[in-house]
């Protein structure tokens, strides 16, 4: 049962983030509801990123993320704080995602269609400029195109690239979350980079060919 919530009077500014988390965990273990709510606020962004990176289904992310925090709350009394709270929480998130995918029998999305001529030229221009698209619609389009390319990779490669490059997880964090050796993560990441660029090149080539054939048809 959640205890009535006393006012949270942590000197948060004087402690490191992990120390603050430890204190919040201790308070949560004692039943202080506001302490757990603060933990939710601190980690919700990363949990969303992690769940979103693994599921690739925005419509399900919020529900799974809520479930992650519910499980964390129910298990927090058994959490011995030997690992960082964030690591423990992210592991719950990864397990929850895998459970979800297993229960729903979700298969990775398969995009059959190649990129259009316009998409090819826009993406190529953005990559060459090395500048993220400014408008929200352009970002959404880039993301969709990247999702199409990432779908061609093995699931683990896709997850590593998304979590590292799009969602900003460090190699160390990925190793802890996915129970892998740090060096293994580095090697897999490096190989996954080669694969995604291979997919990108092939899409560009086929996009270019399509563009060539379309313009030939138009001329004809």
């Amino acid at each position: 049962m959640v205890a009535s919530a006393p006012a949270l009077t942590l000197p948060l500014d004087r402690k490191g983030k992990k120390e603050e988390d430890k204190e919040l965990v201790r308070l949560s273990q004692g039943g202080t509801e506001t302490a757990f709510e603060e933990l939710v606020r601190r980690h919700q962004q990363r949990v969303f990123a992690l769940v979103g990176g693994i599921l690739r289904r925005p419509e399900d992310v919020e529900d799974v993320a809520q479930q992650v925090f519910l499980k964390a709350y129910l298990g927090i009394k058994r959490f011995d704080q030997r690992a960082a709270f964030s690591t423990w929480l992210y592991k719950i998130a990864v397990n929850e995602c895998w459970d979800y995918l297993r229960k729903k029998k979700v298969r990775p999305l398969v995009y059959e269609a190649d990129l259009s001529e316009e998409q090819v030229s826009r993406l190529d221009g953005t990559v060459s400029a090395d500048r993220p698209p400014e408008s929200a619609s352009a970002r959404a389009e880039s993301r969709e195109i990247l999702d199409r390319m990432l779908a061609a990779l093995p699931e683990q490669d896709r997850q590593l690239l998304v979590l590292k490059e799009m969602e900003g997880f460090s190699v160390q964090e990925l190793a802890e979350i996915l129970n892998l050796n740090v060096n293994t993560v580095k090697v897999r990441l490096f190989r996954a980079r080669g694969r995604i660029m291979d997919v990108y090149r092939r899409r560009m080539e086929s996009g270019g060919r399509n563009a060539g054939s379309h313009s030939a048809q138009r001329k004809g």
């Binding site: 129910l74 993220p132 799009m166 190699v171 190989r191 980079r193 291979d198």
Partner: protein, 168 residues
């Protein structure tokens, strides 16, 4: 799709982790110097590093996925409270199959016990011995000594048996 072996041909296996660190700027000055010396003489690793650097530019185009809304934490806490209110029901729900099984077992055991007790009390005593049992009882009676004149020695016993057989 490129396979592991295809990609190993591109970069030197021993340098892959180091190349990843180099991309991240996570190599010490000494290690960075070793790495740079290596790929100055290794076109494969140089190419792989260029490719990996391009992947960083490509993947960062999309940016992070959308974060939670401002009410997310409150929604989570509301869900926690609701789950706690349903907690006893959920716990009961968890044990329910075992409880049901236990009750079924108890009911079956009671019925079996009842049948056994009824059999022992009534039907068992009313059952009549069949012919074979009667004959066995008869045979055993042959050797039953006459309580009035018990045989005094071995000869008398043999005589008694012979007489009984003759009489049958």
């Amino acid at each position: 799709m490129a396979t592991d072996t295809e990609f190993v041909k591109i970069a030197c296996t021993n340098y892959e982790a180091m190349l990843e660190d180099y991309l991240e700027g996570a190599l010490s000055a000494a290690d960075a110097k070793i790495a740079e010396q290596h790929w100055q003489n290794c076109a494969a690793c140089r190419g792989a590093l260029d490719q990996a650097a391009s992947s960083v530019r490509l993947l960062r185009l999309a940016g992070p996925s959308n974060g939670p809304g401002p009410a997310f934490a409150r929604t989570v806490m509301a869900r926690i409270r609701a789950a706690e209110q349903d907690g006893s029901a959920e716990r009961a729900g968890f044990w329910q199959p075992l409880v049901r099984l236990g009750w079924r077992f108890a009911a079956t055991a009671t019925i079996v016990l009842g049948v056994l007790v009824s059999y022992d009390a009534g039907w068992g005593h009313r059952a009549q011995p069949n012919g074979a049992t009667a004959r066995l009882i008869g045979v055993s009676d042959i050797f039953a000594p006459d309580p009035a004149n018990p045989p005094a020695n071995r000869d008398e016993v043999l005589m008694m048996v012979a007489e009984t057989n003759h009489a049958n």
